[in-house]
């Protein structure tokens, strides 16, 4: 039996045949790429709902105006509205329908990550409890909105998919880990394709919760900055369609090459101070991809801008890669989109590979001299063949993904 820490078998590369993301920096790939090129942040002072906190958020405009298809209104909540908005971009829904034609609805799995799902719906319902009985309002539908499974259930019903479906909810690693669940199920032959991704939306639980931990900044977050003092919460949807690669691939095609997963076994809300779990995740991903650390051209850091995350992640990156691999956190642009972050940053990595753009970490003004990495303060136009994306979360859950160009 193989070592339990590195039990993952070598990965047959999987093709991200279609992908899309919608966050505060844009709807779909074109707007997202333009924002990265311009070094634009989508963060703004929090004006969400009745939240009274001095913090910045990455709110997606127009989510309230999204209408779900009439037969799916039971699923109506902010999280599924953003999911639907995300599915409508870049022809993604059409690509899924084409995959259904090709493989059959029962041969496509749905693996989506979220941390808080539609809990906002419950938060709002608790403001409307019956004054006598305390009951929640009759129009509140727990299972289709708040429950953890809601976004995957909505997505499979929207497409009429009848294969395996699940939500991965391991806080901020959720929508990185979906690639792992999909990879394993495709490897066993149970499915031929997978809709993977993540959706998380603003809610009071995370805004007040991160605030109570002293982890939110009163300014737009500044990952790896000497003055960084916390994260900015964002919201996003990201989706990818995973298929086995055909024999002939476009040079621009993006492949999933490696996945590494680990647990810190250290603390519920603080990372291991030496980044030990993060190190194991990155090493596991390299091993599965059959790559050396020098093969990696860009690291999309977890980079939340909390003092402890960035310090621990820096140690882990230095241990695995040394200080010279170009890296940045894109959370200064998008905010920390929590359970959607792994998916958003996987899509950003795909854009990096296709466009040879290594994105700068926006908002960061003066790098923390204690964090000795090649952290990008300006965009770098440079071809990249292999990139790695880090996603770490509460409970000490870690996942690193390696993507590469086909050529």
């Amino acid at each position: 039996m193989t070592s339990p820490l590195l039990a993952q078998s070598a990965l047959k590369p999987l093709l991200l045949s279609h992908f899309t993301t919608t966050s505060c920096i844009g709807r779909g790939l074109e707007q997202t790429l333009a924002a990265l090129r311009e070094g634009r942040t989508g963060l703004a002072p929090c004006a969400f709902d009745t939240v009274n906190l001095a913090t910045f958020v990455g709110e997606v405009t127009g989510v309230d105006a999204v209408q779900l298809p009439a037969h799916l209104t039971d699923f109506d909540c902010r999280n599924n509205r953003l999911a639907f908005l995300g599915l409508m971009q870049d022809g993604f829904a059409g690509a899924v329908r084409a995959a259904i034609e090709k493989y059959g609805a029962q041969r496509i799995g749905v693996f989506l990550g979220t941390s808080t799902s539609g809990i906002l719906q419950t938060e709002l319902a608790y403001r409307r409890r019956d004054k006598v009985s305390g009951a929640l309002p009759a129009d509140f539908i727990y299972g289709a909105t708040h429950n953890t499974f809601s976004v995957a259930d909505f997505t499979r019903h929207y497409f009429g998919l009848t294969g395996p479906a699940v939500v991965v909810s391991s806080a901020c690693s959720s929508s990185a880990k979906v690639f792992s669940s999909a990879r394993r199920m495709m490897a066993t032959g149970l499915i031929d394709a997978a809709v993977v991704g993540g959706v998380d939306t603003l809610c009071l639980t995370t805004l007040y919760g991160f605030s109570s931990l002293g982890l939110t900044s009163e300014q737009a977050c500044r990952p790896f900055d000497a003055q960084r003092n916390g994260l900015s919460i964002g919201e996003a949807a990201a989706f990818a369609l995973l298929e086995r690669p055909p024999e002939q691939l476009d040079a621009d095609a993006v492949l999933l090459l490696g996945i590494g997963e680990s647990s810190d076994a250290y603390h519920m809300s603080s990372p291991h101070p030496e980044g030990l779990g993060a190190r194991l995740a990155m090493q596991g991903a390299l091993k599965m991809a059959g790559l050396q650390s020098t093969d990696i051209d860009y690291i999309n850091l977890h980079g939340t801008a909390t003092p402890t995350n960035d310090a621990a992640e820096c140690k882990a990156v230095q241990h695995v890669f040394g200080p010279r691999t170009p890296c940045s956190s894109t959370k200064g642009a998008t905010g920390h989109t929590l359970g959607a972050a792994g998916g958003v940053e996987a899509v950003i990595c795909a854009l990096v590979l296709q466009h040879g753009l290594l994105p700068a970490g926006v908002n960061t003004r003066q790098l923390d001299p204690a964090l000795d990495l090649d952290y990008l303060l300006d965009n770098r136009e440079q071809p990249a063949a292999h990139v790695i994306s880090n996603s770490f979360g509460f409970g000490g859950t870690n996942c690193s993904l390696i993507f590469g160009r086909a050529n």
């Binding site: 039996m1 339990p4 820490l5 039990a7 993952q8 078998s9 029962q106 941390s115 419950t122 938060e123 608790y126 403001r127 409890r129 305390g134 929640l136 539908i141 727990y142 299972g143 429950n147 953890t148 499974f149 009848t162 294969g163 395996p164 479906a165 699940v166 939500v167 991965v168 909810s169 391991s170 806080a171 792992s180 669940s181 394993r184 199920m185 490897a187 066993t188 032959g189 009071l204 639980t205 007040y208 919760g209 991160f210 109570s212 931990l213 997963e261 680990s262 647990s263 810190d264 076994a265 250290y266 603390h267 519920m268 779990g277 596991g284 979360g393 509460f394 409970g395 000490g396 859950t397």
Partner: protein, 265 residues
């Protein structure tokens, strides 16, 4: 039809009227009457005192059932990748947070917040056992047991690794209970292996099926199976307790169930 095979090496069970796996088998096969009583959750002695004080019902349930399965298999929990599956995170904690957020004082405590994540039990499990291994933390409403079992056997087959699978659900308090009537805590844990070994108790072969899920003849057991998502796995435990080769069908999604061929080892 694609099927996935794994060997069950350890079993943990805790729920209403069930205190552990050895004492539950006679009830599951009908040799003893099912006498439901409220689930008794042991204090998680394996956690450091700070974490023990902060742990809610789902953490206690997860640790109790998981450790029963792992020790039954004679393994070290730190060596095992894990799959956790539950319909939701801690219901009491969720209620307390939503109540505060609807009040004038929204300052929820840090402990309440970090206990609210769906992977809280997985986090505490790794701290208690020292497991730095991969963990998959899943939710699929009433399909949670089936989704977790499918993920677990998939991982056993694809990565040729042992794994501990934990399906745990805890009660929802009012007013959430009226919208999601989960009445009590129940957890099932299985240690699964890719190969036959001395401690293997049964071989299971899992595939998707259109057939309907098995039900219990006993009305109290059947209402338990329906009421708590993790209890949808109880027909599998009955199949193992019967000590004969048997095919069971477990609930999963509206579009598919799981057929599990159970063969004694």
């Amino acid at each position: 039809m694609y099927s996935l095979t794994a060997y069950i090496e350890g079993i943990g069970l805790l729920g209403p009227g069930f205190t552990d796996w050895p004492s539950s088998q006679a009830v599951l096969v009908g040799q003893q009457p099912y006498q439901p009583h409220k689930t008794v959750l042991p204090s998680p002695a394996s956690l450091p005192s700070a974490e023990r004080r902060r742990s809610g019902a789902i953490v206690k349930l997860t640790l109790a059932t998981g450790l029963e399965a792992v020790s039954g298999a004679g393994l070290d929990a730190a060596s095992l990748p894990s799959v956790f599956s539950s319909s939701s995170s801690d219901g009491e904690n969720c209620h307390a947070i939503c109540e505060m957020l609807a009040s004038d004082d929204r300052q929820i405590s840090p402990t309440r917040f970090h206990n609210s994540v769906h992977n809280a039990a997985a986090g505490y499990w790794s701290i208690a056992t020292g497991a730095m291994t991969a963990s998959s933390v899943l939710g699929a409403f009433d399909a949670s047991f089936g989704a977790g079992l499918l993920e677990a056997v998939t991982q056993v087959v694809a990565d040729h690794t042992r794994i501990v699978f934990l399906a745990c659900d805890t009660a929802y308090p009012e007013p959430l209970y009226s919208t999601r009537p989960v009445p009590d805590a129940l957890g099932i844990a299985l240690v699964l292996a890719p190969q036959h070994s001395a401690q293997a108790r049964a071989r299971i072969t899992v595939s998707l099926t259109d057939a309907s899920a098995d039900r219990f003849d006993d009305t109290a057991l059947e209402s338990l199976r329906i009421a708590i998502p993790a209890a949808r796995g109880m027909p599998l435990l009955r199949g193992i307790a019967l000590r004969q080769d048997k095919r069971v069908v477990l609930d999963y999604l509206d579009s598919a169930r799981l057929a599990v061929a159970v063969a004694l080892c």
